[in-house]
C-alpha cells in the first residue's frame, strides 16, 4: 500500500527535526543612531538584513531580541532614549524632577505627541505602559530592574509621578527600555500602537517586517521613506543578499569567515562597534567541585581565552576578564586577575584538593559559537588533568535544565545585556554565586546618591567576582555591521540589539 510509506516519512522527519534548535532571543539593549536625521532624501526604502526575527511583537510577552531591534526607537519610544555612547537623554519626557529623598520622580510629558492610531499621548498611557512591564504576567526582562517601583500616578494629562519603595539610581536608564504604548491598544503581539517615526506596515513571519513613515510623527522626519527588515536563518544566505544588493545593511555579522568578502571592497563598509554580548563558561557555584573559588580560578587560568577568540573571530572582539564590557560605566581591565597560566592552574588545583584533576559535564547550546568553544575548552582542560564531557543541548533544553532546574555542573552561554553584572548580587540566579558582600554592594549601588558612588560600588563588586572567578568570562563579541557604501547614518554599536533606522540615508 502506497499510503503506508508516508507515515514513516512524517515521523522520521519530525524526530530528525526535533534535534534542531535555534538561538534564544533573550535580551534588550541600548544604542544610539549615529547623527541626527538630516534633510530627507527622495524617499528611498532601506532594506535591512537580520538574523533576529521577532518571536512576536510584544516586548513584555517574549518578543525577544528581534522586536527590540526592529521596534525600539523606530515604532515605540520611551520616556528616555539611550544615545550611541550609552548616555540617557529625554525623549517623550520633556523634563523630570527627583524628590530630595530620591523616592519620588515627577515626569513632564512632551506636548503634541500622537500614537499611530491618531490618539494623543497622555499620562494615562505612560502609567499603563509602565504597569504592563511590572505586571505579574509580564515576561519583560526589565521587570526585575523596575522592582523598586511602588506606584505610578497620573495627576494630570501631562504629568506622571513614579513612587519608589527604595532609591533606584538606574530608574531613568531603565525607563528608556519601557515602550510607551497606547493604553487602549489591543493585540500588541501581532500589531502595534506606538509614537515612533515609523508605523508597522506588514509582518510576514519568516520573511520580512516592513515599517512605513508615520506622517503624524512629533519629531524630525526620518531620513528615508521607510525600512524593510529581511529575516534569515542562514548567515551565508544573509551575506549573499548583501552581495547581490537585495539588502543594504546587515545589522550584526555573526561569522568572521564572511567578512573577507566585504573588507577591501569599495562597495561595502565594515564597521566594528562595541557589543555587550559576553561568552560565559558559567559554573554551578553551588555544587562541588565548582563551589571552591580556587577550582574556578584554576579552570579560568587553564583556558587560553585569547586563542579561542582568535580562532572564532579572527582578530575581532576582545577578552574582558569579567562581566563588565567597556561600554558600561563601571568597566575596568581585569584580564590579569585570572591570567592564562597552565602552571598556576595546576598549583591551584592541587591546593584545592584535586591534584589529579576531576571530571565534569559541560552543557553546551547547539548553536554557534558554543560547540566550538566547548571543544576548545575540553582540549585546554585536558592539559591540567580535567576531563570534560560535552553535552550538546537545544536552547529550550538549556532554559529548562540549566536555567530553571539548575541541574548542571557548568554551561556555556552568551549573555547579551549591558549592565548585567548586577546578576552576581542575586544568590538565586542560575549560577548560584552567593557572596554577601557582593550582594550588599550591588544593592547599595542601586540606592546610591550619585552615579560616581554607584560606579565605585559596582567596580568593587566586579573586582570581587573576578577574584572569586564567579564564572569564566571568555570573551566579548565584536559588533560588526556591514553596509553598502551608499548608506550612511546607521547605528554601529547596537549595544546588544537596538537598530535605530530613522537616520539611515541611501545614495
Amino acid at each position: 500500500m502506497v499510503t503506508s510509506k508516508f507515515a514513516g516519512v512524517v515521523a522520521a522527519l519530525a524526530l530528525a527535526l526535533a534535534a534542531c534548535g535555534s538561538g534564544p532571543g533573550n535580551g534588550t539593549g541600548g544604542a544610539g543612531a549615529s547623527g541626527a536625521p538630516a534633510t530627507p532624501d527622495a524617499g528611498a526604502v532601506i532594506e535591512i538584513g537580520s538574523l533576529y526575527e521577532p518571536q512576536n511583537l510584544d516586548n513584555t510577552a517574549g518578543g525577544g531580541q528581534g522586536v527590540t531591534e526592529a521596534f525600539n526607537g523606530n515604532v515605540y519610544e520611551g520616556l528616555f532614549r539611550l544615545t550611541d555612547d550609552g548616555k540617557v537623554e529625554p525623549l517623550l519626557a520633556e523634563s523630570h524632577e527627583v524628590s530630595p529623598d530620591g523616592l519620588t520622580y515627577t515626569f513632564k510629558l512632551r506636548k503634541g505627541v500622537t500614537f499611530h492610531s491618531g490618539k494623543a499621548l497622555t499620562s494615562a498611557d505612560v502609567k499603563a505602559s509602565i504597569e504592563r512591564v511590572i505586571a505579574d504576567g509580564s515576561q519583560s526582562a526589565r521587570k526585575s530592574s523596575l522592582k523598586a517601583i511602588k506606584s505610578v500616578e497620573a495627576p494630570d494629562d501631562a504629568t506622571v509621578v513614579v513612587k519608589l519603595s527604595s532609591r533606584s539610581i538606574s530608574l531613568v536608564y531603565n525607563l528608556s527600555y519601557v515602550w510607551i504604548v497606547n493604553s487602549a491598544a489591543e493585540d500588541l503581539a501581532t500589531g502595534e500602537d506606538g509614537t515612533g517615526p515609523y508605523k508597522l506596515g506588514a509582518w510576514k513571519r519568516g520573511s520580512t517586517l516592513s515599517l512605513e513613515r508615520f506622517p503624524g510623527y512629533w519629531g524630525a522626519r526620518p531620513a528615508n521613506n521607510g525600512v524593510v527588515f529581511h529575516y534569515f536563518t542562514d548567515a551565508a544566505a544573509l551575506n549573499n543578499a548583501l552581495l547581490t544588493n537585495a539588502v543594504d545593511v546587515v545589522t550584526s555579522e555573526q561569522s568572521p569567515d564572511a567578512l573577507a568578502q566585504f573588507t577591501g571592497n569599495p562597495d561595502y563598509k565594515v564597521s566594528e562597534g562595541h557589543s555587550t554580548t559576553k561568552l560565559l563558561l558559567a559554573f554551578n557555584d553551588r555544587k562541588a567541585p565548582f563551589d571552591k573559588p580556587l577550582v574556578r580560578k584554576a579552570v579560568s587560568s587553564a583556558i587560553d581565552d585569547a586563542k579561542l577568540l582568535e580562532s572564532v573571530w579572527a582578530g575581532h572582539g576582545s577578552v574582558i576578564g569579567s562581566m563588565v564590557p567597556p561600554t558600561d560605566p563601571w568597566y575596568e581591565d581585569l584580564t590579569k586577575v585570572n591570567p592564562y597560566d597552565v602552571e598556576l592552574a595546576k598549583r591551584q588545583l592541587a591546593e584545592a584538593g584535586y591534584p589529579k584533576g576531576f571530571r565534569f559535564t559541560l552543557d553546551t547550546p547547539n548553536y554557534d559559537p558554543h560547540p566550538t568553544a566547548a571543544t576548545f575548552i575540553k582540549s585546554e582542560l585536558a592539559k591540567v588533568g580535567i576531563t570534560v564531557d560535552v553535552n550538546v543541548i537545544t536552547a529550550d533544553q538549556w532554559y529548562s535544565k540549566v536555567y530553571k532546574d539548575r541541574d548542571f555542573a557548568a554551561t556555556l552561554q552568551e549573555h547579551v545585556n549591558d549592565r548585567d553584572v548586577v546578576w552576581y548580587g542575586d544568590p538565586d540566579f542560575y549560577w548560584g554565586y552567593d557572596n554577601k558582600q557582593v550582594t550588599q554592594w550591588v544593592e547599595e549601588a542601586e540606592q546610591a546618591r550619585t552615579e560616581q558612588e554607584q560606579t565605585e560600588l559596582l567596580k568593587k563588586a566586579n573586582r570581587q567576582i573576578a577574584e572569586d572567578a564567579a564564572s569564566d568570562w571568555i570573551y566579548l563579541y565584536p559588533q560588526i555591521v556591514v553596509a553598502s557604501s551608499k548608506l550612511s547614518g546607521y547605528p554601529v554599536n547596537g549595544l546588544n540589539s537596538q537598530f535605530y533606522a530613522y537616520g539611515i540615508k541611501k545614495g
Partner: protein, 321 residues
C-alpha cells in the same frame, strides 16, 4: 469504484486522526516547554509560571488535546503560542511558496527523469547509457545544500542573472518576479529528485525490456516503438507512479534545507522554528496539513495506478517500490 473511493476516504480521515493523536502524544513526550522560548534569562519563578498560564502549557494534556481536536474539526488550527498569529493563516502564507516550489520541481524532475531513465536502460550498451546512470548516482550522493550553494555562486553571485534568495513581499502579485526567485531552488530540488527518479525509471524499463510480453509482441510483428507504447509503458509506469507519489510527498516535507539556503518563507522553515520553540499548535498544524497532503498524494497515486493496471482493481492495491 464509488465504494472503493468511499472506503478510501474513510481510511484517509482515520489515518489523519490517528496521525494527529500520535503526533500530539509524541510531541508532549519530548521534554520542553513553549514558554521557554518567550522567557528571558532573568525571569523569576513567578514570571515563568505566569508565562505558562498565559499560553496554557500548564493545562492538563487531555484538555489541551480536546481543545485542539475540537478546533481541527472546525478547520481551525489554533494560535501560535509564540508568535500569537493564527496557525491556519501562517500555513496558508507558507503554502503560497511551498506548493509551487514542490510542484514545479516535481514537474521539472519528471520531464528530465522519464526520458533519461528510459535511455539509460534502453542504451545500456552504448557509452552514454552508463554515463547517464553514473550522473544519477552522483546526483543522489551530493548533499542538497551543496547543490544550492553551487547554483547561488554561479547564477546569483557571479553571473548576477538570478536572485540569491528570498521571495517577493507581495507574493505572486508579479508572477514573473515570484517565478524568478523560485528558479534556483526549483532546479536544486529537481536535480536531487530526478537523480533518484532516473534510477527507478531505469529499473522499471529494464524489467519491461526483458519481459516475455514485449518479446511476444515483437515476434507478432509490432515495431519496438509500438510494442513499448502499447504494453511496455503501461507496465513500467505502475511502480514509477508509486515512486512519484513518494518523491512528491518527501519533497513537500523535505524542502527545509533548500528553504533555508534560499531564505524562502516556506512550510519547512515554519516547522523547524515551531520545533525549536516547542510551539505545539504550529508543529501540529504543519504536520496535520502535511500528513493530509501526503495521504492525498498517496491516494491519488493509488487511484492512477488502478486506472493504469486493471489487475489492481480486483483487490485493494499495493504499489511496489
Amino acid at each position: 469504484m464509488a465504494r472503493y473511493l468511499l472506503r478510501r476516504t474513510a481510511f484517509l480521515l482515520g489515518s489523519l486522526l490517528l496521525a494527529a493523536s500520535a503526533l500530539f502524544v509524541l510531541l508532549r513526550l519530548l521534554p520542553g516547554d513553549p514558554a521557554n522560548a518567550l522567557l528571558p534569562v532573568g525571569a523569576t519563578p513567578e514570571q515563568i509560571a505566569a508565562a505558562r498560564r498565559q499560553i496554557g502549557s500548564d493545562l492538563p494534556l487531555p484538555e489541551q488535546f480536546g481543545a485542539w481536536l475540537g478546533g481541527l474539526a472546525r478547520l481551525d488550527l489554533g494560535t501560535s503560542l509564540v508568535s500569537r498569529l493564527p496557525v491556519g493563516a501562517e500555513i496558508a502564507e507558507r503554502l503560497v511558496v511551498t506548493v509551487p516550489l514542490t510542484l514545479l520541481a516535481f514537474a521539472l524532475a519528471v520531464v528530465v527523469a522519464l526520458p533519461v531513465g528510459f535511455l539509460a536502460a534502453w542504451r545500456a550498451e552504448r557509452w552514454y547509457g552508463p554515463l547517464l546512470n553514473g550522473l544519477a548516482q552522483l546526483g543522489i550522493a551530493v548533499p542538497v545544500f551543496w547543490i544550492g550553494m553551487l547554483l547561488v555562486t554561479v547564477f546569483a553571485l557571479r553571473l548576477r542573472v538570478l536572485p540569491a534568495g528570498g521571495f517577493p513581499r507581495d507574493d505572486w502579485a508579479d508572477p514573473a518576479r515570484a517565478l524568478t526567485s523560485l528558479a534556483l531552488p526549483v532546479v536544486t530540488i529537481a536535480v536531487v529528485m530526478s537523480a533518484s527518479l532516473i534510477r527507478y525509471v531505469r529499473a522499471a524499463t529494464v524489467d519491461v525490456l526483458g519481459s516475455d510480453y514485449l518479446r511476444t509482441a515483437r515476434a507478432l510483428g509490432s515495431s519496438f516503438g509500438g510494442a513499448m507504447w502499447r504494453h511496455g509503458l503501461r507496465n513500467a509506469s505502475v511502480p514509477v507512479i508509486a515512486i512519484l507519489g513518494i518523491e512528491l510527498a518527501t519533497t513537500f516535507l523535505g524542502a527545509v534545507v533548500v528553504e533555508s539556503v534560499f531564505a524562502l518563507p516556506g512550510l519547512g522553515t515554519l516547522l523547524v522554528e515551531g520545533i525549536a520553540e516547542h510551539d505545539y499548535p504550529v508543529i501540529q498544524g504543519v504536520l496535520a496539513v502535511s500528513t493530509f497532503a501526503v495521504l492525498v498524494i498517496g491516494f491519488a497515486a493509488d487511484v492512477v495506478q488502478r486506472l493504469v493496471d486493471p489487475r489492481l482493481r480486483a483487490h485493494v492495491s499495493g504499489g511496489r517500490p
